[in-house]
Symmetry: C2
Subunit: 192 residues, 2 copies
């Protein structure tokens, strides 16, 4: 049995290597540079090996997205827990969200811009994604205001953050006033 266990371990290890390499390559040179050939070369295996782990490139993107969602959820919770008072927590949360998107553009794209073949807003949504949304909900639910459904409020706040993140990174919004936009967002949306 031990032999098969070792093989299974090595296989899992290699799968992690593929995802980590894809992420690194995407973060350094953009997702366009992540081709199956380059990826195979980096992990020092031939192309078909990739397809013994994933159905195709999209599933690799999906795997990077799930990794990212886990990290993002942790980063959001850490940031939110640092603030005292609901409003400070919300501000910290918003900054953390935009910071994560700015620091990990490729991962953010994998999560929300590219097709990673992931389900959203269903019960078969992968746990890390649900959990990242929960991290938002935990803090934002406090400031939804009376009679406003916390989930709906979180969706709206999230959409605003997502818009700011993507438009800023794509050069659609000048980066100078990011902080002012965050403050305005929190001031208007959060009811304390």
């Amino acid at each position: 049995m031990s032999v098969q266990e070792r093989k299974q371990r090595e296989r899992a290890e290699r799968e992690r290597l593929i995802v980590a390499t894809a992420r690194e390559l995407a973060e350094h040179q953009g997702w366009d540079a992540v081709t199956t050939r380059r990826l195979a070369e980096r992990i020092e295996y031939s192309q078909p090996v990739l397809y013994s782990h994933f159905r195709g490139k999209r599933e690799i993107i999906g795997a990077v997205a799930l990794d990212g969602a886990t990290e993002m959820a942790a980063a959001l919770r850490t940031a939110a827990s640092a603030g005292d008072g609901p409003r400070a927590r919300v501000t910290a949360l918003a900054r953390a969200y935009l910071g994560f998107a700015a620091r990990n553009p490729a991962v953010y794209d994998a999560m929300f811009e590219l097709d990673g073949g992931l389900a959203f807003a269903h019960e078969d949504t992968p746990q890390p994604l649900k959990d990242a949304f929960s991290a938002l909900l935990e803090t934002l639910g406090e400031v939804a205001g009376d009679g406003v459904h916390p989930g709906l409020f979180t969706e709206l706040f999230w959409a605003a953050l997502h818009g700011l993140a993507t438009l800023t990174r794509a050069g659609r919004l000048p980066p100078e006033h990011t902080e002012a936009r965050v403050e305005l967002l929190v001031n208007r949306l959060a009811i304390t």
Copy 2:
């Protein structure tokens, strides 16, 4: 001279045909289906003809985006002018924006998701894009609130709309409560 004028006219006509065909193809089968080969076949010319009008595929996307921006600006102004009172205008504007994005997903992608090689937020931004932003600004400037820069407010409102549009269309947000989200957005952000 007349001969050259005719040629020039025909050339301009063909360029319009290329853009219209690209748009139609993208709207019906997605941008992935818009390949230079297919596009060339549809317009009944060979591939290199495309490159005598545009530097490459990205410029074709850019041309579709500019078309879309002009249309969107008109749609936004029409919608906003229908409402009476600043708040009604803003609500109508928001609905029109999301409606345009939902009805013209490929054009919306060309404008904001894909790389069409267009400049944003500079003085060398193409006029249609500036004008679309102006259409937002005209209505939203009325409800920015005291001491809030109208441009900054418009950027934030726009980002929220953009987030709602993209997340909804990508299946990240359930489409059922779109209207409720719009109402919440206007209620919180607009100061009348």
